[in-house]
């Protein structure tokens, strides 16, 4: 946090309390992994929709890791008497084969008013954005993320080994898999925003990853994951004057 940030926060009616931090190391294994359910010679080449079943343990470990890091950061903010944490950064770091560290770090702020929010809000937006939102009648409610991991059996609709023979065409199976994980992650995200009681969300990131899994003799399946992050925001009415309108300005900067 710079002096500029502190000035922005104080203009918005907040004081900077200090940096807060939370972290946890999770063991992430593949317990429960059972392939896509395809069996050779069983009803011929299967065309199975993407399934999330085998990854329940994996995705719940990711959820727990993120939640714990955020929660520990929030507890630190409570201990400091803060009302919120701005500029939150969530990171994941592999520590060895199966261990992953989740950390959350941000700047704790306290309102100058008499009203306390109950639990401190968290947001990945920076101080300038928080100040602008407040001036427009919106308050950040919490960092939210949606997550989904799924797998799809590789078959003739996905096999990329055909190369030349395929020609230029859409790969329906892979499109289906990625569309599925994104749709689920979006649904998860929206559900969590609603569960908070917020009115809207500003997404800050949407990351998708795909990888191959060896499930048996010369047979691989494809897994895909999608993580959507953002900040839930809530509308409030001020009993005072309307929000100042935007002003068209032309900065006289030199391009040098």
């Amino acid at each position: 946090m710079t002096g500029e940030h502190a000035a922005l926060l104080s203009a918005a009616g907040f004081d900077l309390v200090g940096q807060v931090f939370g972290s946890t190391v999770m063991q992430i294994g593949w317990a429960g992994w059972s392939g896509c359910g395809w069996r050779p010679g069983y009803l011929g080449p299967a065309v199975l929709p993407p399934r999330s079943t085998g990854f329940a343990a994996y995705s719940s470990a990711l959820r727990t890791g993120r939640f714990t890091a955020l929660d520990r950061m929030r507890r630190q903010a409570v201990a400091l008497g803060a009302d919120g944490v701005v500029g939150v950064r969530l990171t994941e770091q592999p520590r060895d084969e199966q261990k992953r560290e989740f950390t959350a770090v941000g700047a704790a702020v306290r309102s100058r008013g008499r009203q306390r929010p109950g639990t401190p809000f968290t947001t990945d937006l920076g101080p300038a954005d928080v100040a602008k939102l407040l001036a427009a009648g919106w308050v950040p409610a919490g960092v939210v993320y949606g997550l989904e991991v799924a797998v799809r059996h590789d078959d003739w609709r996905t096999a990329s080994s055909l190369g030349f023979l395929v020609g230029n065409t859409e790969m329906a199976g892979y499109t289906e898999l990625l569309t599925h994980v994104r749709a689920q992650a979006r649904r998860d995200f929206a559900g969590r925003v609603a569960a908070l009681g917020a009115d809207a969300a500003l997404m800050s990131g949407l990351r998708s990853r795909t990888w191959a899994i060896e499930v048996g003799e010369r047979h691989t399946d494809r897994a895909a994951s999608c993580l959507m992050t953002g900040t839930a925001i809530a509308r409030f009415r001020t009993g005072r004057r309307p929000v100042p309108a935007g002003l068209t300005v032309l900065p006289l900067r030199s391009s040098r």
Partner: protein, 273 residues
């Protein structure tokens, strides 16, 4: 931030203290930045939600003659078709939300770990709905579809202020094979700084094809012009002699005859950047 409303933090904190799991009916998600979000609201539009469409496409190589400049039409079509699928799927999501348009669209290509010739084409934007219809009756374009625009929220606001509205994103693609030099030509150029005419010609040709395809789309939409045009040239994974030229921009139509915008205030920032 020049002015603050006294009492804002109190009102805001009270809202948080009263948070209850609400009705997710009016809930929207948007990938706009805070600046864009507030400006889109000020332009008279409400975000309805994040919309996206994607397509994983196999874009192989098409063989060109080694010593010939020519368009690789199959590849041009594949690159165009894949983007069109992503855009159409995104539009379908916006249509289902009852949107008037989609702003801040990002159209990306990402080659996947699946295989060297598999790429994901993805279109992401924020669906918006206007508070009031325009004088011309509808915000949607002449095909009755929500408009799409890759302009930022700031540019969108300025465009609306100036009395224009987007009608749709327009694009044109041309994948071109540039001839290799014959042996004696290459020998002749050693140690010299000279123009390579066939290269220059090829670049002119390919850009011209991409631009004219984009313009044809704008004409089809009945647009007055195309703004924010970008001309991208990428070799993706095809090596140095095969390049895609891709033209993309937002086609616009006028909302009213005059296009006067408020005179901007001149400000002198106290920062370097």
């Amino acid at each position: 931030m020049t002015v603050t409303t006294p009492g804002v933090p109190d009102d805001a904190m009270r809202r948080l203290a009263q948070m209850r799991p609400g009705q997710p009916t009016s809930l929207f998600t948007s990938d706009l930045s805070v600046n864009e979000f507030l400006l889109v609201r000020e332009a008279g539009f409400r975000p309805l939600g994040l919309v996206l469409g994607s397509s994983i496409y196999h874009v192989g190589i098409q063989l060109g003659r080694w010593s010939q400049n020519r368009e690789l039409d199959q590849l041009s079509q594949a690159m165009y078709h894949a983007r069109e699928l992503a855009m159409t799927r995104m539009e379908a999501e916006a249509d289902a939300l009852g949107a008037d348009g989609i702003v801040g669209v990002r159209l990306d290509i990402e080659f996947k770990e699946f295989g060297s010739e598999l790429a994901e084409f993805i279109a992401i934007g924020t669906a918006i709905q206007a508070d009031v219809p325009p004088e011309s009756g509808t915000w949607r374009n002449r095909h009755g579809k929500p408009f799409t625009s890759d302009l930022s929220g700031q540019d969108f606001w300025t465009l609306i202020q100036a009395g224009y509205t987007p009608v749709g994103m327009t694009m044109g693609s041309c994948v071109y094979h540039i001839a290799h030099q014959r042996f004696w030509q290459a020998m002749g150029n050693i140690g010299q700084n000279v123009e390579i005419p066939q290269y220059t010609e090829a670049l002119y040709d390919a850009r011209e094809l991409a631009m004219s395809r984009m313009q044809a789309e704008a004409e089809d939409l009945g647009a007055e012009g195309i703004v924010g045009v970008r001309m991208l040239s990428t070799s993706h994974r095809w090596g140095g002699h095969t390049t895609e030229f891709f033209a993309i921009g937002t086609a616009v139509r006028p909302l009213r005859p005059d296009h006067v915008i408020a005179k901007p205030q001149l400000v002198l920032p106290l920062t370097d950047r």
